[in-house]
Amino acid sequence: MEKVKKMFWVSVLCSLLIIPTLAGAQDKFPTKPIELVVPFAAGGSTDVLARLVAKFAPKYFDKPLVVINKPGGGGVTGTEGVVRSAADGHTLYLGYGSGHDLVMPHFQKLPYKTFEDLVPVSLLSVHSVVMIIRGDAPYKTMKEMIEWGKKREQVTASVSTKAGSVDITFQAVGKTTGMKVVTVPFRGGAESVTAIVGGQTDCGGNHPSEVISHIKAKRLIPIAVALEQRDPAILDVPTFKELGYNVVTAGSVKGVAAPKATPLDAIRYLAERFKKVCEDPEFIQAMKDIGQPVMYKGPSDFGKYLQEGYDQYGKLIKEFNIKLE
């Protein structure tokens, strides 16, 4: 069956080449390369994810996936670009569920509606927030850290950006543990890791993919994960909840979205092919190696997951009375 399908596509492609003038609206999706817009800078964890997906895509998609970085406004600029692009399924947003989707709308009005102007296609991965301390710090566990921290005037935590998922998590850590946590925002995850490795701050929060090499090198120790369940990327690290602190977030969700008017056929096609990529053993291994667990969900499940994540952040922000100063 699969072979027949392939033959069909090959013949469609051939006919397209021969009679390009007749190629009209009836052509089956996709008719040209699909753009994966990453609204963050190249080299970050979302970018690496997108490029890994694009690398494996030719096996399963009929047209290549092309990664385009459009950084700006904490992710808003690139996402808005996708919202305003042609809704034909050829322009997709990768990173749906990041800080500017789940956290920022609680503080600021965006130039588009995150949940109404975009439709979910597939969830690819969830990047948890893991609390890290330096390998040679005088404290080695959560308990020791809190004992130490409570005696101090303040405990500094490096975070990737103000009002992002990591920042909110650490504001909550401060409120639940009784330490006076001061978050120090840096310019992205890489810089905040550098600061904690260099001992500039007392602790920090990052996504596992950003710290996995430092954990292996024993420069950093992961002490708690802010998710409901443990993160498959770092299975031996307990959750905050297990340790008795109610800091549970949705993490930074990394999925694919399309503009709202995208035809259902295209969405179905995309979801099916992304699923196949996510089931590829080589892809799963490659993702494991970079510390990003594969967690596929289809359009409707992904949509529900996002909504829950958004509400969870809202609850956290309200409960701990977190404000942008």
Partner: protein
């Protein structure tokens, strides 16, 4: 001793990898591409590497693809000076100071020697940087980690104060430009609190004004507007070319500038963030200080080209140190190489040198070869570039404007930025009419956000106590320099005033 032997052994095996025909070809390809994107304003090495990433999967071998990407990165440093010297447009932030004396040299018909000394200086500095990378990488990387927010603040404010003295015409005018640059740099999201500043409701301004947009407007378009006026007055200016190559005298004047620039670039380049920019600035300031004829700076002093151009190349080599030894990417282009390595299944970091010795030594060895290739590529091109100045301005000017527009558009793919560039173009024209130097402004613009962020981060860490800048050894030393520097300047001004009064009374 054993360790040194191991390093040589590693390096030799690295050459074995880098000298295969396949790797040589890709090193050459990278160097060539890098030179081209360095020359084209706007398109930088980071964007190029990002465009070529999919190709790197096709190459298959991670060593080969990293060799090519590294070539693009340091190749761009060679090309960056070309437009600074020829048409007064810095290809990137690290080449801003090259404009000051490089363009003046070109106006005096000495574009050839300027380009030549930039290429030779880049080669020497690049190679010295790689030698440093080969032998002292790990301990230095540890040192770089000690550089936290307080150290960045002290270093940046020192650099900024030096910038105010760059143009040399008037300290007051320099300070005005710095303040303007700092203000412009504060457009966008507040780095600490996330509040929105000075965006006038434009969402596109939330991330601030882009460097490329500002530089193209202020330098590129501004210069062209100014020249149009001049050319109309004086009819056709024939652009004279006196020599094509640096003379022995040029060489004698710049050799120590190259050596000093290499060392400054290497040590500042190890620091993550802003390394290449700050190093070129520091190198220029040092050259001006040690020169017996500081008054020639700003009027076409060859040391003002040789020093900073060497510094930014050796900084480029040095920026591989935190990547390869700690797994910390210091700038956008290096971050792309970091991503490329990850995607290919190679984890950069402390274990790279033992787990993937082939990658580490192969790439290091290729950088020796690549730098030599770049020199061979660039020297013959000097003649070709100089010929470009013979093109009538009426043809050259629109081409420059076109390239500026493409360059600015390519950064974020928005037409909005082209309008912003136009506004800064007019502003740049007015600055020239009023005899203000745009250099300090753009440097303050680049350094301002680093300054603000590091100041506020440091104060967050110290719970508000400014003593943090003096208590930590590195920061304290830098602050000591800063205070000495200010005292020295005040002393000079007072002495000048006193001798002035004396002369008047006698």
């Amino acid at each position: 001793m054993n360790e040194l032997f191991g390093m040589f052994q590693g390096l030799i095996s690295g050459f074995g990898i880098a000298l295969t025909l396949n790797n040589l070809t890709f090193a050459l390809l990278g160097a060539l591409l890098g030179t081209v994107v360095g020359i084209l304003p706007g398109l930088g090495p980071a964007a190029t590497i990002s465009l070529l990433l999919p190709l790197s999967f096709k190459i298959g071998d991670p060593i080969t693809s990293i060799i090519m990407m590294a070539g693009i990165f340091y190749g761009a440093m060679y090309g960056g000076s070309t437009t600074s010297i020829l048409v007064n447009i810095p290809g990137e932030a690290a080449s801003v100071v090259t404009c000051i004396d490089g363009y003046q040299m070109a106006l005096k018909g000495r574009a050839g020697p300027a380009l030549g000394i930039a290429a030779i200086g880049s080669f020497i500095a690049g190679t010295l940087g790689v030698i440093g990378l080969t032998f002292v990488a790990p301990p230095l990387a540890e040192f770089a980690l000690k550089f936290g927010p307080p150290e960045y603040f002290s270093l940046t404010i020192l650099g900024l104060l030096m910038a105010s003295l760059l143009g040399g015409s008037s300290i007051l005018k320099g300070l005005i430009m710095i303040v303007l640059g700092l203000l412009l740099g504060s457009v966008g999201l507040d780095p600490i609190s996330g509040a929105i500043r000075f965006t006038w409701g434009f969402f596109l301004l939330q991330e601030g004004v882009d460097f490329v947009t500002l530089a193209m407007g202020l330098f590129g378009v501004g210069e062209i507007l100014y020249n149009l006026e001049k050319e109309l007055k004086t009819e056709l200016v024939t652009r004279k070319i006196s020599h094509l190559w640096p003379t022995l005298k040029d060489w004698a004047e710049s050799k120590w500038a190259i050596v000093r620039g290499s060392f400054i670039g290497f040590f500042v380049g190890i620091l993550p963030g802003g390394g290449a920019v700050i190093s070129s600035l520091v190198s220029y300031a040092v050259e001006k200080k040690v020169s017996k004829h500081p008054e020639e700076f700003g009027k076409g002093a060859i040391q003002g080209v040789a020093g900073p151009e060497s510094a930014n190349n050796s900084a480029a080599s040095a920026s591989f140190i935190p990547l390869l030894t700690l797994g910390i990417p210091g700038n956008a282009a290096i971050a792309m190489i970091f991503a490329a390595l990850l995607i290919q299944g190679v984890q950069p970091g402390p274990f790279l040198i033992t787990e993937r010795a082939d990658v580490f030594w192969g790439v290091v060895a290729s950088m020796y070869i690549g730098n030599a290739m770049l020199l061979i590529l660039n020297l013959p091109m000097v003649g070709m570039w100089v010929q470009l100045l013979r093109v009538p301005y009426a043809i050259l000017a629109p081409i420059i404007v076109l390239f500026c527009c493409i360059g600015v558009y390519s950064v974020r793919n928005t037409v909005f930025d082209i309008w912003i560039m136009g506004i800064f173009g007019v502003f740049g024209y007015l600055l020239r009419k009023l005899d203000f130097e745009p250099g300090p402004m753009i440097l303050a613009f680049v350094l301002g956000p680093i300054l603000e962020r590091s100041l506020r981060q440091a104060l967050l860490i110290s719970a508000g106590s400014p003593l943090i800048f003096f208590k930590r050894p590195i920061s304290g030393t830098l602050m000591g320099f800063l205070i000495l520097f200010i005292l020295f300047q005040i002393f000079m001004v007072l002495r000048k005033r006193r001798t002035g009064i004396k002369e008047e009374s006698s």
